[in-house]
Structure formats: C-alpha cells, structure tokens
C-alpha cells in the first residue's frame, strides 16, 4: 500500500519536491504510521487504557467485590501526605540521574565523535551498548557486590591502603543514583552521538581558526547541535527512572522507597491495582507536565 502510494506520486511526473508536497500525502503518511501505531495500540495502549479505567474503580475488578467508580485514588497525595515526600524523592533521584547521565554521556559522545574514527569508533560504540545485553537485575545485583561492606570496592581500597576503613555506600541514595546512571548512560551516549556525528569537521576547524576558544566551541556549536540528542536522551532516562523500582529496592535498602516501589507494592502486596494505577498515571502526568514546561522554556530560549 505504501509503495503504491509513493509510486503513484512518482509516476505522475518526474517533478521537483514541491510537486510531491502538493499531492495528497495522507495515504503515504498513514501507511508509514499505521503498522507501528496499530501494534502499539493493541499491545500497550489498550492494556494501559484498561488500567486507566481501573484507576477509577473502588477495588481491583477481578474479584467478586462490588465495583463502584470513585476518584479517591487520585486523592491519595492528599489523604496520605507522606506520599508527597516519596514523590519528591523520586523526582530528585530522577533529576540527578538525568543530569549526571547528560554530563557524562554528552562528553562521551563528543569524545566518540571527535577523537575516534572508522572501525575504532564503531567498536567503541558497540562496546558501550553491550553491557545492556545482560539482564538489568543481574547488573544491579552485581553492583551490590561491588558496593557492600567488604565488597569489591572495599577490597580494592584495602589493596592500596590496608588500614583504610570501609567506603561502602550500599543502601544509600548515592547507590541508587549510581545504579540508575549505570543503567541509563548508554541511552544518553547513543542519542548524543547520533546528533553529534553529523557535525562537519569543517565547522569546528573554521571556528578554531577564527580564534574560538574550546568553551565557545562547546557552548556555541557542540551543545546546540547535540540538543536533539540531549533531549531524547533525557526523555529516555528521566521518564523510566521515575517509575523504577528494582534499583531503589535492591541498592537502596531502607532508603529505597520511591514512587516506583510504592506502586509495585500496590500491585504485589496490597492487590490494590486501582491505587497503583492511579499513582502511575499521576506520575505520568507529572512527567508530561515537566517536559511541557521544559520544552516551552527551550523554545523560548531558541527564539531569543
């Protein structure tokens, strides 16, 4: 269907791009989008919509308990004010994770795009993405072995300074952020790299030969050009981190209480899907609001 539509356009005349745009293009657009969005709708969006409907129910609609519709689950932050603290913690963890990923990931992408070429670059890129091919749970458990008292970190330290105490920081927020940064850094490196790799050497050489200092090149050329990558990377990091529950639970010990773990508990322990779902959708709304504000600021910044 898609190729037909495109071919027809082509057959109507070997004309310039202007002509193509004027032809009704909705057929091709639909053909490009339909398979993906049909798939997404069936497999994820409809199930999530079901959950959304559940979030207005008085109880999980799987038992025999009578179901009434209610908004009470969306009032949870008012009724259980301690959730506000937990929500704030999640946002702070998400913010630091995203910021650290952005800084280290961007620099890694710059290094990848500027300091390497050809096969070495491809190999390095693949090596950066490969740790992802191990299961996340296994990676997080490995971090506990590194970070715990008398774990690998302490052992390495004691090889150098035999008398040093323990620098274990397992079961702290730092451990959670470390685990999350490790889990999401490759996303940021990849998206920034994709944005940076198209920069023409000539631009930077020209800038340098005109006397631009490195920070001018960084702030005036590299960061603006990497902006789409930084934004995608931030989305791919911040959004899932807010709802993550494995890393906080395993690396955070008793401080690992986040919105993700609260939601998980509602599903696994409390069997209160409506509340769990309501909390997730509230979280989604907050995330969207943050990005809306953020993109508004960016747009104004770009216009200025």
């Amino acid at each position: 269907m898609r190729s037909d539509a495109l071919l027809n356009e082509a057959v109507r005349g070997p004309s310039g791009p202007r002509k193509h745009r004027m032809l009704p293009s909705w057929v091709a657009t639909t053909a490009l989008l339909l398979p993906t969005y049909a798939w997404l709708t069936l497999a994820v969006l409809l199930p999530l919509l079901t959950m959304f409907v559940f979030s207005f129910m008085s109880a999980t609609p799987m038992g025999k308990a009578p179901i009434t519709f209610t908004l009470k689950h969306y009032r949870a932050f008012v009724d259980q004010p301690y959730l506000l603290n937990i929500g704030w913690t999640s946002l702070v963890i998400g913010f630091w994770t995203t910021l650290l990923c952005a800084i280290f990931g961007f620099l890694a992408a710059v290094a990848l795009a500027r300091a390497t070429v050809g096969r070495m670059r491809e190999t390095l890129l693949i090596l950066i993405l490969l740790p992802f091919w191990t299961n996340g749970l296994v990676r997080v458990f490995s971090w506990t072995m590194v970070l715990r008292e008398n774990g690998f970190l302490d052992n390495v330290l004691h090889m150098v300074f035999a008398d040093a105490g323990s620098i274990s920081f397992l079961y702290t927020r730092y451990a959670i952020v470390l685990g999350l940064v490790h889990g999401y850094l490759p996303y940021m490196i990849l998206t920034c790299y994709i944005a940076l790799v198209t920069i023409d050497d000539a631009i930077i050489e020209a800038a340098a030969s005109l006397g631009a200092r490195w920070w001018t090149i960084l702030f005036r050329i590299l960061i603006p050009m990497a902006a789409p990558g930084l934004i995608s990377g931030a989305v791919l990091t911040f959004v899932p981190v807010i709802g993550s529950f494995m890393e906080p639970r395993i690396l955070g010990g008793k401080v690992g209480v986040t919105m993700g773990t609260v939601i998980e508990d509602q599903f696994t322990q409390a069997f209160n899907w409506p509340l769990g779902a309501a909390l997730s959708f509230t979280l989604l709304a907050v995330v969207l609001a943050i990005f809306a504000t953020f993109s508004g600021v960016l747009r104004r910044g770009a216009a200025a």
Binding site: L42, G63, G252, Q269, F271
Partner: protein, 358 residues
Amino acid sequence: MNNITRRNTLQLISAGLIAGAGYSMLPRKAAAAGSITVLNWQGYGTDEAWSIKAFQESTGIEVVHDYYSSEAEMLTKLRTNPGAYDLVVLNAARCAQAMAEDLIAPIDYSKVPNISSVAENLRSNENFNKDGVGYAVPWVWGLTALAMREGLPKADSYAVLGDAAYKGRVALQDDAVGVIAAAALLTGQDMNNPKDLDLVKETLKGFKPNVKLLWSTEDQWNKSFAAKEFDVAMYWSGGSVRSKRVSKLPVDFVVPKEGGIGWVDGLGVPASAPNMEGALAFANWMIDPKFYVEWATKAGAPASSNVAAMESLPADDLSRQIHKPEYIATMSIMSALPDDRREAFNNLWQEVKAFYAE
C-alpha cells in the same frame, strides 16, 4: 467473572495481527492424561527435580511448573488462565479469597489417602473450608519469628528489634502483614485484627535507628546475612533451616515469648483444572512422609502438615526441632483479611517505610 465484556473486534484485530506476525494461536495446552501444571513459588518443594522424576516413574504423570512471585499475582494468574493449572499452592490467608471467587474446587479427600494423618487443626482451618467442605489439602506450615547470628544472646521478645544494642543491625521483612503482626504481638494485640493501629505504627517507627534494610526474598536475606549486614531479623522458620543447612550460615531461629507468626500453605485444585485426578495424586505425594523426609533433609523445608511425616524425621533434625508440634495448637495463624483492613495495613506500612527512608 468480570464486569468488562470481551470485545469481538479486539479478538479479530489480535487474531489478524498474530497471523500477520506468523504465529497461529495455539490452543491451551491440551490436558494430556499424563501431565499436570503446578502454580507455585519457584524452588518451593513441588519442583524438586528428583521428586518430579520419581513421581513420573511411579504414576506416569509429568509435572510442569509455572511460578508466581507474589500471592496477588497467583490469584491474577488463576483468574486469567482458566484451564491452565491443575494444582496451586496457596496460603491459608489467600485461600479464602480464592474460595469466595470459586477459583478452586472442593477436594475429594478419598483421592488423597495421606490426609488421614494430617493434623486435624490444620485440616479444619477455617480458611481452607467453606460450608463444611474442604477446598485445600494442608501442605506445610511454619512460623515467621526472629533469626539471630549465632553467639548472640537469644532474644526472648520482638522488643529486640528496637533494642539500642542492635543499632543498624536489624533487617525487617518488607511485608505489611508480617511486620504489623510482629508489632501487634509485641503490643499484646490480635495480629490478624489489631485494635490499636496507631500503637502498631509508633512501635514500628520506633525500630528506625536499628533498621538496616528491608528484605523481601530469602535470597536477599541469605546474601545480606552472609555479608554480615545485620545480626537480627524477622525470618521464616523453613528459611532458617535452609540457610543453616544449605548455605551454612550461622543462624539461630528464635521464637519469642509473644509467639511466632504462624502460616499454613495448602494445595488447591483450580475449578478449571483439566486433570484433577493427577493433581490430587500429586497433592497426596506432596504430603507423603517419604517425599517430605527427603525434601526436609536434603533441601530444608517448613513443617509438613502430616504428623506422620514429621515423626519420620530423625529426632535431631533441625526442622523437627524448630517446628514443635505444640505450635500447631498454640500459634496465631495468619488468616484472611478483609479488603479494608488489608488496605489499612498497607498504607500504614508505606507510611512507616517512608519514615525509615527520611
């Protein structure tokens, strides 16, 4: 079953999509006469390889497993997979819920001859019975109480969880029902229905300086204990036997004066089970002394509901020493919670956890 009707359109879309993806929809696993599917926690008795092999050799029935990682999920799987399971392991506290929803069928005890020596107290547990009809074969029972590092003075009360001597050396179970039960027992209340929840909350909050971590799996317990991250913890009786025997950890299991938190797991047959006969044969196998002794001594198990099975254990067996027969009569057993109380328990525990995390 539910208040949302199936949509034929969706079926069509999905069928089309699946055909497009190149996979025809397979019908549910046919109930071959020679197979049963068991739904259980992983590594919890039913899936011991030697036992499955022996069972197949003696009956010709093959045992397949599916697992759950929370009891809520077990119920969800039962509801959304009619016809998929033949036998399910379920806690007494959850059994009532499954019974109420007609997810499990009454048991024909004549097919389970070993039931004759099962402790009467467990068999008649109100959570396993409805209108005088039994819906589950009591399988194993155990206690949640305290475990301490060997060599430490044995605590006689749950108060040790808040004892200043163990600052930062305590692990609690990350389970609302479990921790609330401990705090309720400590404050002299009914663990299944504490009247003064505020007192329970304050008691739990008082443990804060001591709490190092909240564990949710036996694995996590073992690894953290092995790494010497805590000295005192709430723990399962069967778990402590396994930790000591299999993992060689220096653990003492202690039942304080307030009593242990008792639980019973039963074997239920889903109402939709394709192979009830086979399921009951396997249930009988599971409470057979021969299976139990091997399980308990090789791997480490909770106590069998079958008194004869407990008596076949060597007298010095760890499991036998920990699970004293008189407990069956005296311990408080976790029972079914009404929805509002369960919700109150969970909200309380969330609040306490948030307080710990501050």
